[in-house]
């Protein structure tokens, strides 16, 4: 929605939003807790309120919104195949496409937890939809595996609805979610958080009756003799999100294994010309505000592409942006050099937890910028700003410009 509105405001005439759900807003509609919008609106909103700010604005425009519409195929030339109950099968020929499909949750199958294949094992987001949209409680006694934010939020939500949350089990030695969620969702309700512990077996015939948990060693292997049986009728999984890129791949977009999203340049353009990506389909974000801003940026680039001001760039030198020491990934993954005064924001996530470190951006021996961070943890995305001018200045006549390395200083 943010991308569509931005494109509209920039004067793009013919915009269509293809949405498979029956309303706009995606996952925000089931995220009824507050904490959204502090950056974009400077106030704390709930998910539905945040979504409504955009959908109300869209109503005032001539943007075409197609709900209940499933895009079932896409091609490199930006032809989309979609179906919905009103129009049946549709072929849409777009001049530019912004991918904003979001992500989905890692399911039980991705974890290979041994045990019986019984009912009562849900992803945290499925339980969230049951409770907050359908008004159905998933069970009475719940174990949560993984300490991602959705799991933590659901621990509180279910407690408020009278469900007993037995505990949250996290295989890593630190929690996956934000500190404020640990404090306000677990500590407030005395819900135990078990770090370096995981579920090793699921018990139950028909319906889950309990799980076996175990502590893990530094290689995340369960330690024999530490097993404990925990009775429950529901197991929630909050173990990570996977960008949903089947359509992107059909469009010939190159994929970056670490983020699970497309490779993009500084304009959020993918390997396929005129195809841009933003939000959780590109990389999983921790704040919706950043998703909104990324959507707006994608729209600005799409508008520039339609105006033919982006087409020149691919003849220029392309340099790689590399995740160096301590970092898991960077975004964008490459930059086309341009003789402009533009500023490039490079987002990154760390591999481990750091305290009071400098993160440096450099090309060869040239340090372009250093940023001090009081705390750098994998669950919180950070960024550094680079000036295109500084990047160009690292080159000499004999040598081109090398890779841009972003790293934690030793």
């Amino acid at each position: 929605m943010a991308a569509a509105l931005q494109a509209y405001e920039l004067g793009v005439k013919d915009i269509v939003i293809l949405e498979r759900d029956n309303s706009l807003g995606g996952i925000l509609n089931q995220c009824i807790h507050n904490g959204f919008g502090l950056h974009v609106f400077k106030e704390e909103l709930t998910g539905p309120e945040y979504a409504l700010r955009f959908s109300e604005k869209i109503k005032e425009t001539n943007i075409t919104v197609m709900l209940d519409t499933m895009v079932i195929g896409a091609e490199k030339d930006k032809t989309l195949y979609a179906v919905n109950p009103e129009y049946g099968f549709m072929v849409i020929k777009a001049k530019a496409v912004i991918l904003a499909m979001g992500c989905r949750e890692r399911p039980r199958g991705a974890l290979r937890i041994p045990g019986s294949n019984c009912a009562g094992v849900f992803t945290a987001g499925t339980a969230q939809r049951f409770v907050n949209i359908e008004g159905i409680l998933p069970g009475k006694k719940v174990v949560i595996l993984g300490s991602g934010d959705i799991g933590l939020i659901m621990a509180r939500r279910m407690t408020l609805e009278g469900i007993k949350v037995m505990g949250v089990y996290e295989i890593m030695e630190y929690p996956g979610g934000l500190t404020r969620n640990i404090v306000q969702c677990l500590d407030d309700y005395d819900i135990p958080l078990h770090l370096s512990e995981t579920v090793v077996k699921i018990h139950g015939k028909g319906r889950i009756t309990g799980v076996t948990t175990a502590k893990v060693d530094s290689n995340m292997k369960p330690i024999k003799g530490t097993e404990q049986y925990v009775e429950c009728d529901t197991l929630l999984l909050s173990v990570g999100l996977i960008p949903e890129n089947e359509l992107s791949e059909q469009m010939g977009v190159g994929m970056y294994q670490v983020t699970g999203g497309p490779f993009v340049d500084q304009d959020l353009e993918t390997d396929t010309e005129g195809v841009f990506a933003c939000g959780n389909v590109l990389h999983v974000h921790d704040l919706v505000d950043y998703v909104t801003m990324e959507g707006q940026r994608a729209a600005m680039s799409a508008k520039a592409y339609l105006d033919k001001t982006l087409t020149e760039k691919k003849s220029a030198q392309k340099i790689a942006v590399v995740a160096g020491n301590g970092l898991r990934y960077v975004l964008p993954q490459h930059i086309y050099l341009k003789d402009t005064e533009e500023k490039i924001k490079i987002f990154f996530r760390s591999r481990a937890r750091f305290r009071e470190v400098y993160v440096r951006a450099s090309v060869g021996d040239n340090v372009l910028t250093r940023r001090k961070l009081l705390r750098l943890i994998p669950s919180e995305m950070e960024s550094v700003d680079i000036k295109m001018r500084d990047l160009l200045n690292t080159g000499s006549e004999t040598n081109g410009i090398g890779d841009l390395v972003i790293e934690v200083e030793q």
């Binding site: 029956n22 009824i32 409504l52 359908e134 008004g135 939500r157 408020l160 500590d187 705390r375």
Partner: protein, 127 residues
């Protein structure tokens, strides 16, 4: 006053990403000492957490004649942490009817907290 009446609590500050652990010693008359914060805002947060912690509550109420069976709600202002389950009892009891507009007051001054329960979603009437 005997030493046994002094209580200790470790508070993880959530004001900024630094995440200081603040050790607070207090008794029934108030805070005796605080240690471990790095700024004034952290001290204020810890003081509020000991003396009068508040939270926003978000939940849902039953709704009839709408696309779904529940409508999300929130407290219009943070309420005392000790009142959370009292407020939830009131939320359980309510049943509303579509149409409802985001921002509509569902319960006025819930449990005497001064905060209203407000709808956070808009639902048209559906047959």
């Amino acid at each position: 006053m005997t030493k046994e009446n002094i209580m200790k609590k470790d508070i993880v500050c959530i004001v900024c990403p630094r995440g200081c652990t603040i050790q607070v010693n207090y008794d029934k008359n108030g805070i005796i000492s605080m240690e471990g914060s790095s700024c004034k805002r952290g001290d204020e947060y810890a003081r509020a957490e000991i003396l009068s912690p508040t939270r926003m509550i978000t939940s849902s109420v039953k709704i009839d004649n709408a696309k779904y069976t529940v409508c999300p709600v929130k407290t219009g202002a943070p309420v005392s942490k000790s009142k959370i389950f009292d407020v939830m009892e009131e939320i359980y009891k309510v049943r509303i009817k579509a149409p409802v507009q985001q921002g509509d007051v569902i319960i006025k001054d819930v449990c005497g907290t001064g905060a209203d329960i407000i709808a956070t979603q808009t639902f048209e009437t559906e047959s």
